[in-house]
Symmetry: C2
Subunit: 415 residues, 2 copies
């Protein structure tokens, strides 16, 4: 018999303001155990190879481990169903079981708030007794449960409305007067407009945790104008909460159970803070370890702590997709190959392969930042590496440092 | 902070085989407290009137309290939103909030298995580690959660599949190999047929708890032939589990937290065991009291204990709807009015008003069972009562006891 508190004590959010040193000490203590736990699962063992967990005590050591790309999961899971050997528990030991597009199969852990979204909802001002209209779907994919569990853990009452059926949702709004909304920004706009059209007073909704889609400034202004304090939550079906917006509205703060790295797309190499690259996450959970999962999303790490006092890594939020594979002259060119060229030539800065169409033929040009942009010998060597790695010839143009935009774009298909 | 076990100890089902006397003693102890709790809610106070809770210690005393018709709830809730004053807690204190067609607004209580379906699923053979494909909807109405919570409380892993999207469900069946199904009988048939058509092996499903629709003998035979032990569960959004089928397959056993009465449709008067009538339920829960709710469903109480050893009241299962209102000569005639005639003439047995069309006019005939079918004086008096109560004249025909079918039909509209 497992006993769990269904409510989260708000003091458990105190770790958000601990010093960077305290957090590093906690990581030094927990991370080796998490890696050791992962190695008890055959999928992780096969993926990580020969690793000494006791040595993986900080971000630098973590960065020596192989990245697992989310795009590889469907085939890995197909080879070892259902979870690719990446789980310590059998499917029947999970609380709930889901599939996400891919398909990727994912389990919900036992216990209160298994997706750890209470922290994000707390930062968004959700409190015990709030009534939350949750418009994410509860069916097949875990979106609805991810936010539901966090709200329940805080002591909120949840209306599991799901997406769509606007008329029924207006009826529920009129009857229960919810104070909070969870769902996509777009659907909140649809609901509010439908309420106005139907003459239903939806002014009870004064806070929102938004996820699953971009939140453009136009919608931010509109919700603010309607009296709604709306905050972004970055979560995925793979591991739940990753980062969340706080009242400072200065980027998103990474969840305390997550180590977040930003790497050169296609590689496992961490980029300097501020550089746009691919998000790689590690979940500090011995029962459900997850080591360096590359999500295919782009972001950049922001310097320093948040003005709200939270001290964990801050990111700029979602900045696009890192999956930039292009087909050139019939061959796939992948970000992994551009990252390989960067490894072969450590003096290069940002790299960008631009694919165009000239004389009815595919053409590609590799732009490369360097301190010595007039070094023709270097250009020739990089050109040879490009031909060897991509098996297609392309032009190379050297640029001075800082000439390429900081947008995470590694392959720019302009055809 | 509320602490709850999320798993049900199977010993908590031991109360199913206690003696009838033990159960009566428990009722004598709990029922007065439940009635007293109800009277703390203004809706119940207004509905029940002046009641001395300490005297309501058994079924006979319970039967003196006024029945609350489910069909009245929408207007009562509209007058005192959202719950009509029938709840002790504010909406924000519930775990989740729903609406059912009507609309009727209902809250889910805090804690493990708030709808008490673990008992039914246990009787249907569901066990810890089972993987349950739950195809009831989790959106707006509580169906999905009602079965989900029971399965989770037993330690099963639940796939929240929801209704529809057959192709995605087959993918989940192939990946997770669920051992159990919850949903309607019809959708199980659709899924199994789709699996055959798609070449997906669904033979992993060997048990099922079915609800929400009739389970005809043809489907019972088909599922048995496919190796599935399927059991019926009778639950509603108002109060969760009401009765469940056990391995004896001899009617349905009433849930231990429910007092179930079968009354003359339109009245609150209990019928003798075996007579078909309307189901009236009382929920023995001090935090969520529910006194004599008439559900509008027909059933009959079966004599004696179930062969499986369970000793609580058994019912025949769902036998149709008790809502038999008809419009005759522009006036509504309701089962309540027929029940009123029965009260005015206690010597009558079953009553049935048959509505027909003769000479382009509505016509009605009241058939009434009596020990004295040749008593013309009685027929005249009953005819006068019919005209007074229904405000429409009709013919009266007296019949000997047992001549009317035992099917709960009080108004038979044959037009």
């Amino acid at each position: 018999m497992v006993s769990t508190d269904i409510f989260v004590d708000r003091r458990s959010f105190d770790d958000e303001t601990r010093s960077v040193e305290e957090r590093s000490e906690a990581v030094a203590k927990n991370l080796p155990a998490v890696v050791a736990a992962a190695l008890r699962a055959e999928g992780w063992r096969a993926h990580l190879g020969d690793v000494a967990p006791e040595r993986i005590r900080d971000r630098a050591r973590l960065a020596t481990l192989k990245v697992l790309r989310k795009s590889e999961l469907p085939s890995l899971q197909k080879a070892r169903p259902p979870f690719g050997g990446f789980k310590l528990e059998a499917p029947g030991q999970f609380a709930r079981l889901f599939s996400s597009p891919g398909p990727i199969f994912e389990g919900e852990a036992e216990g209160a708030d298994p997706w750890r979204t209470a922290r994000a909802l707390n930062a968004a001002g959700f409190r015990r007794g709030d009534i939350v209209l949750n418009t994410f779907s509860y069916h097949l994919t875990p979106g609805g449960f991810i936010l539901d569990a966090g709200a329940r853990a805080l002591g909120c009452a949840v209306i599991p409305a799901g997406p769509g059926n606007t008329q029924a949702q207006l009826e529920l709004i009129a009857a229960y007067r919810p104070s909070a909304y969870t769902g996509t920004p777009d659907f909140l706009k649809i609901l509010l407009d439908a309420a106005v059209a139907a003459g239903v007073d939806a002014s009870c909704i004064v806070k929102a945790a938004l996820s699953g889609a971009a939140f453009p400034p136009s919608l931010q202004a509109e919700f603010k104008g309607r009296g709604i304090a709306a905050f972004q939550t970055y979560a995925t079906a793979d591991l739940g909460l990753i980062a969340y917006e706080s009242e400072a509205r200065a980027g998103m703060v990474v969840d305390e159970d997550i180590i977040l790295e930003v790497v050169r797309p296609g590689s496992g190499d961490p980029l300097p803070d501020g550089e746009v690259g691919e998000i790689v996450v590690t979940l500090l959970d011995e029962r459900h370890p997850l080591i360096r999962l590359a999500l295919g999303d782009l972001t950049a790490i922001m310097p320093g702590p948040s003005p709200c006092g939270r001290t964990h890594t801050r990111i700029k939020g979602w900045m696009g997709r890192a999956d930039q594979t292009a087909k050139v002259k019939g061959m796939f060119v992948r970000p992994e190959q551009i990252a390989e060229i960067a490894r072969l030539h450590p003096s290069l800065g940002r790299l960008r392969l631009v694919v165009t169409r000239a004389n009815d033929q595919d053409a590609m040009t590799l732009f490369a930042e360097t301190e010595t942009p007039n070094d023709e010998g270097l250009a020739d060597k990089v050109g040879a590496s490009l031909a060897a790695v991509a098996r297609i010839k392309g032009e190379v143009r050297l640029l001075a440092s800082g000439e390429l935009a900081n947008d995470g774009k590694v392959i720019d298909d302009r055809r």
